[in-house]
Symmetry: C2
Subunit: 512 residues, 2 copies
């Protein structure tokens, strides 16, 4: 029997005249002992059903629990002969997309994983606008209901596809950024986005699924990850859990790359975190041809002698360029000398790929013959400048957080690049443009959706959920102080790869 | 400020860039410190309302809480300038009657106290029959709903009379015997009344008022006293709390006299309890004229030379005799010699008050001219025999529990007689017939409805509610082993006052 599991088997001594302890107290005493728990709570309906279940099962039961801090909720009690699987749902509550993973809590296997657009996107694509919308009458309720309805729809679809009853889903976990979590729970988020940036709640919480209107087991519990503040949400705490950062003796760093860059640095003894705006250039792009990853987006660019080869999503004819392709492009252009160290196009090398549109210099990435709409796909000097500001911001944030604790790049054992966008970035390209430090490539690890991974872990393991509050307490959040020193670092980083080329020896070797 | 109160005032430092702790976490950190709490829980709707309330009140609030074991529920947060009273409702959930007391939690004053018949009485007057009824389809739900509807009606009436809003009632406590508590909570009680007599739950619990359908503050919490087993319920635990038995250095004893005699003996270091059947003669009586206390019941009888004087409830013409009157009558008859030490009528002294009805000897208590219905009120030898068995059972239970821990009567500092029936018993009469030990009268203390008193205490004081689980753990329940020794004691006690008259020196002095 797995003592770390949420599914526990209990064989109870039968009551007798010499031991007439009540049913609830008899069961909870054994559970407390088995789980080293302080409290075992249960809904009134479970208490009412207990005498029948215990006697029907000859006091041999399997219990499904959920909770933390030695305080657990008893969700269901079944005869130990019951062999229907027990399921849990892990949810990554992204601003743009929501990912749902169905897990078998007995075997720990993943049954399915579904991705859907966040239905709040139809109100506004960005978080700020949604928070403003929530301020309108009924706005918050509506935004919350959109998410809950969408999740219920997904649950229904999953149950039909996999032929399971929704009552078999007994726990759920939610990891999302601070605003998304507030909107999901129906908490007003206005104070999060205005100085001094105060969430309604930081701490982790458990709700009953019924209370939130989620159609699974009526006594199911729903875990919501804690946040550290406005800009460091439950998705990142979940990510830290999934990578076990707080148990490593070596120092490692985790970066979630997006419009905001969220960074965690530390080991088992200490952990600091910060977040800063990196600009939109890294994710959906600001250029006319910039787009989020989707069919026809150029996601990878390589140099072939004097021309480029590209790779698009789904091998469609190119319609635009997504973040990872844009970083590759800048790296290729810089390595070929078509961009100088200031990030300016070099006309002598770009030749006829460079031309003016509306008085702004543009570079032809894909010719009209090759593109999806028959027109040239170009990027402008303005686009490149924007990318350079973004990459400089990222590098400056990384430098600032490491310097704040006197850590050198060489002291970092693993550099985790997290997030759905992060996993597509080619570290070699990112190093070439000076966005991330010049570490050996094998030290970079692309870890994908760590938020979903951590959300899954709390459903499978009691010790992992206990770790969440440890992580929450373990992290020191530092405000990025945008002072003169920060601005000096930022200015120095606005070159390819950097004004101080000694910081990027591998890039300089390639260039020579 | 009273730190022991459930109403706490908190003045919070305002959030700022240097301290952007979330609203919930900021408030709970201060509450935890102020209350020495481990957990502060709150419903989702309170969390959602917190940002508005905190800012409206300039972060100066009064919080209403409830809970135990350092785990509290935040029921409401109001501006500290709010001056509407906060109320609590203490409920004694008796089999026959329900008593509701409304308390002002700020001033600790009692606003009102209402008594009503337990509406389950219309299903059956006794607990056993109700438990059987609960076994029928919908039976349990119906019994539960009867109680809840009756309580809601009372709450509505109280609110109208006292011009308060039901939302101002923020906590509630319930003390009742084990079966009544189960039926109130909708828990099946069948296993309680069948060997090996297993309740569904022993432990104390908190429910939300909304969950139970009680119409007070939507986040109000409702405390239910724990029980020790089938025959030692929350009403007795509540009674022990109200008398502070577990804090006394001296040994005291508390007896709740009724059809069952429940006895607690102990002090701050140890406490034992037992319960046993004393027979119905002590409460409603088994005699033809026996009745529960009500208008016209003879509740007190005294000897006046060769005749008796009686006192009836509400000074009506006598219609019957209630338990306390019956005990007085037996004492008077014994002292006057009309009953001998075997409890048999002495014809020479009873004279023409003694006559046969259906071949059974009857004694005229009240002549037809004086009674309400114009007929003689009589008791038979059978009634007296029944009373003697009951009083002998009571005395045997008291002897057995004290002997089990080698306590002498002289070691007992106070003898508490609890219960609504108990408060009407004249200890002098009860000693005369050998029902209770021959202690100096000033050591007897009639304490009335201690169950309601204890239920009130948990609403007024955090330390008192913490004591409840201490009491629960502190008590050792001993099964009354009805063995040969018990039967020998019982036989010896079936005399007036006892075969061993040296045990009742004060009675013997009167007789001489």
């Amino acid at each position: 029997m797995n003592k770390d599991s949420w599914v526990q088997y209990i064989s109870m001594p039968h009551p007798c005249l010499g031991d007439n302890t009540a049913d609830v107290d008899r069961l909870t005493a054994l559970l407390k002992q088995q789980l080293d728990a302080r409290f075992i709570d249960m809904d009134r309906a479970i208490i009412a059903s207990l005498p029948h279940i215990l006697r029907k099962s000859n006091f041999d039961v399997r219990c499904i629990l959920f909770g933390y801090n030695q305080h657990y909720h008893l969700i269901d009690v079944q005869p130990s002969t019951e062999c229907l699987p027990v399921y849990g749902l892990a949810i990554d509550l992204g601003t743009t997309r929501i990912v749902i993973r169905l897990l078998n809590l007995c075997t720990h296997s993943t049954i399915t994983e579904n991705t859907m657009d966040n239905p709040q996107g139809k109100i506004a694509p960005d978080v700020l606008a949604r928070v403003h919308y929530a301020d309108k009458p009924e706005g918050l309720d509506y935004l919350q209901q959109l998410i809950i309805d969408a999740i219920n729809d997904q649950i229904q679809a999953i149950c039909i596809t996999h032929k399971i009853c929704s009552k078999q889903i007994m726990s759920m976990s939610f990891a999302g950024n601070t605003c998304m979590t507030h909107l999901f729970l129906g908490f007003p988020a206005q104070a999060i986005i205005r100085e001094p940036y105060i969430p309604v709640v930081n701490r982790q919480m458990i709700f009953s699924a019924t209370e939130l209107g989620i159609n699974i087991h009526p006594h199911a519990r729903l875990f919501v990850f804690p946040n550290i503040g406005s800009y460091f949400g439950g998705d990142l705490i979940s990510g830290i859990l999934s990578l076990d950062l707080m148990h490593h003796p070596e120092v490692s760093i985790m970066v979630d790359v997006g419009t905001n860059a969220e960074v965690v640095l530390g080991n088992k003894d200490w952990m600091i975190a910060c977040a800063g705006a990196a600009g939109p250039a890294l994710e959906s792009g600001v250029s006319k041809i910039g787009m989020t990853a989707g069919p026809g987006a150029i996601e990878r660019i390589q140099q072939n002698n004097n021309s480029f080869s590209w790779q698009t999503i789904n091998d469609k004819k190119p319609v635009g360029i997504c973040g990872s392709g844009f970083i590759d492009l800048a790296a290729v252009l810089f390595r070929s000398g078509m961009l100088d160290i200031r990030g300016k196009f070099v006309p002598d090398l770009c030749k006829d790929r460079l031309y003016h549109i509306n008085n702004i210099i543009h570079f032809q990435v894909v010719s009209g013959e090759q593109s999806a709409n028959g027109k040239d796909l170009t990027i402008s000097q303005v686009d490149i400048d924007s990318l350079i500001r973004s990459k400089a911001a990222m590098y400056t944030i990384l430098t600032t957080i490491t310097k704040s604790v006197d850590i050198q790049w060489k002291d970092i054992s693993v550099f985790y690049v997290a997030g759905t966008f992060g996993q597509y970035i080619d570290p070699a390209s990112a190093i070439t443009i000076g966005m991330i430090p010049d570490l050996p490539l094998q030290q970079y690890r692309s870890v994908g959706n760590t938020s979903l991974e951590g959300a899954s872990r709390v459903l499978l393991s009691r010790s992992d959920i206990e770790s969440v509050s440890d992580i929450h307490k373990h992290i020191t959040y530092i405000e990025l102080n945008v002072n003169q020193e920060f601005m000096n670092r930022f200015s120095a980083a606005k070159f390819l790869p950097h004004t101080d080329t000694s910081l990027f020896p591998s890039v300089m070797v390639q260039s020579n």
